[in-house]
């Protein structure tokens, strides 16, 4: 089973993307494998509405473990198996909480083993100086790390919010050579392009 990692800053919309993308593919219920940083793994079943209530939150670092969902993604006339993995957000600088640092280590470790990465950026906050979601060093390093090694796309999320258009333009000019997909996880816009991108690598 090949794995696709959803990466990005805290609060860039990774978990909501995972859930809504699964719903877009026709899933109503999810079997999720939660891998905790300590090494414990357990399985959880959610219906999508419940999952959104429990797993998605406007406070950053709500997700602190790897959440793996196995999906069948249509590819041409057939379907391919993809493990889509939601991760702990990676922040700029050093986080003061040891628990969260441990979760981020888990994400980084997984990044080294992975074939395909979707890098989410909050489009509405790209240029907001001082905001933790603003595009920064981490995003640059992630792009540099992934180029040439992995299937890698930058996904500009939250395109439904005001200011996201300018954010998208700014991301495009910063990363002129990368695949960039505008998307709104909330409105399920741009999912067709994401699906096509993922399908190419599996």
């Amino acid at each position: 089973m090949k794995e696709c990692l959803i990466l990005g800053k805290p609060n860039s919309g990774k978990t909501l993307f995972l859930l809504n993308f699964a719903e877009y593919l026709g899933y109503r219920e999810l079997e999720m494998i939660v891998e905790e940083p300590g090494g414990n793994r357990h399985r959880k079943s959610y219906d999508l509405a419940g999952a959104r209530m429990t797993l998605v939150s406007p406070t950053p670092h709500h997700t602190r473990a790897l959440q793996v969902v196995q999906l069948k993604v249509p590819k041409g006339k057939s379907r391919c198996d993809v493990a889509l993995t939601d991760t702990t957000g990676l922040c700029e600088g050093i986080h003061e909480s040891a628990t969260i640092r441990r979760s981020m280590v888990q994400t980084l470790r997984r990044l080294r083993e992975i074939q395909v990465v979707l890098h989410l950026i909050d489009g509405s906050r790209v240029g907001t100086v001082g905001a933790p979601e603003a595009m920064g060093d981490l995003d640059h390093q992630l792009a540099r790390f992934a180029t040439g090694r992995l299937g890698y796309a930058i996904i500009v999320n939250k395109m439904d919010l005001p200011g996201a258009g300018a954010g998208l333009a700014s991301v495009r000019s910063t990363f002129p050579y990368h695949v960039i997909i505008p998307m709104s996880a909330l409105r399920k816009q741009g999912f067709r392009e994401v699906k096509a991108f993922v399908g190419r690598f599996f």
Binding site: G93, I94, R101, M104, V105, R112, T147, R149
Partner: protein
């Protein structure tokens, strides 16, 4: 990034970088920078830790040297070297964020029998696999009868079945021109159409090689104008010279742990000259192999009742063995 500056010595392994993050010595962005530094130091180790499609496997030198060992075939060897360089540079370009060219590798092999077309295709499959271009690199060898069916609709099905077997490797169609014989109503045309479609659909995981005699292949390509542009690589396999054939003989014998006496070698050279003149189409390496195999059997016959044969005797093929062989008869019927 500035956070990593104060900490010396630098981390030596990827695991150590992760410890630093956990201890709060460095943030995630800094860790990504260190990942790259560490994997550049231990390039080989880094490669193994990041297996991805398009990765060069260690076996590639072995496959390349196998190709280099083949006698003659300068054109092929040069092409493979070009391809290797091309793939490597495309990868570096991707790393530098530059546009990359897709690799279209469908080929046409033109040459008489026994000039090494199948052998080269087989080695090429392995090389492409080792370069990370093909996933499996196996060779699926088919001919007209495997592709063309008996009734309407049957051909597309049969051809698709063969294509499916070949995915991830090379589909090698021997005497491909026979697909175009029989004119408009022949089902061969349907097979060609199916192949052409598959070439486009499976650009990334299939290499199609059409092989056959020089003249027939050229006529075949002329008769289907679309084919020339779809097969960017044309390779001619020239007939071997007598010297090259003798080298091939040495190679075959060495592999089987036999050797020729000096007189036998001269006799073989005469035989080959006579054989080449007499054959309507030269069969090249196959002619050599057949002669050698025949002489090995004749040597066995000579030694059968010679109980005191030494190790040396058991290896040596003398003039005697080669004298009775006529190059153009007895090849199909060994005795």
């Amino acid at each position: 990034m500035e956070k990593k500056g104060g900490h010396d010595p630098r981390p030596k392994s990827l695991g150590e970088v992760l410890e630093w993050v956990e201890d709060g010595k460095v943030g995630p962005a800094g860790a990504l920078v260190l990942f790259q530094e560490v994997s550049q130091v231990g390039e080989a180790a880094g490669r193994q830790e990041l297996p991805a499609k398009g990765q060069v496997r260690p076996g590639i030198d072995e496959s390349l040297s196998e190709l280099d060992q083949l006698i003659g075939l300068g054109e092929v060897k040069e092409l493979v070297r070009e391809l290797r360089a091309f793939v490597e540079v495309q990868k570096r370009r991707a790393r530098a964020g530059l546009a990359t060219e897709p690799l279209v590798l469908h080929m046409i092999f033109k040459g008489n029998p026994g000039t090494g077309k199948t052998t080269v295709a087989r080695i090429l499959g392995r090389i492409l696999r080792d370069m990370g271009v093909l996933q499996k690199g196996h060779l699926t060898e088919v001919e007209r009868a495997d592709l063309v069916g008996e009734y309407i609709g049957h051909t597309a099905q049969k051809t698709r079945d063969q294509l499916k077997r070949a995915l991830g490797g090379i589909l090698f169609i021997d005497e491909a021109y026979s697909l175009a014989r029989g004119g408009e109503k022949d089902f061969g045309k349907e097979a060609i159409d199916t192949l052409v479609k598959a070439m486009e659909d499976h650009k990334d995981d299939l290499v199609l090689i059409l092989a056959g005699y020089q003249e027939e292949m050229e006529r075949f390509i002329r008769s289907n104008p679309g084919l020339r542009s779809r097969f960017p690589i044309h390779i001619s396999f020239p007939d071997y010279s007598i010297d090259e054939l003798l080298n091939i003989a040495d190679l075959i014998l060495k592999r089987r742990q036999y050797r020729l006496s000096e007189e036998a070698r001269q006799q073989l050279s005469l035989l080959l000259k006579a054989g080449i003149q007499r054959e309507p189409v030269p069969s090249n390496a196959r002619l050599v192999r057949n002669i050698i195999e025949r002489s090995i059997r004749r040597q066995a016959l000579r030694l059968l009742h010679q109980a005191d044969a030494t190790r040396e005797d058991l290896m040596l093929i003398t003039k005697e063995e080669l004298e009775g062989i006529k190059p153009d008869e007895g090849m199909l019927d060994p005795w």
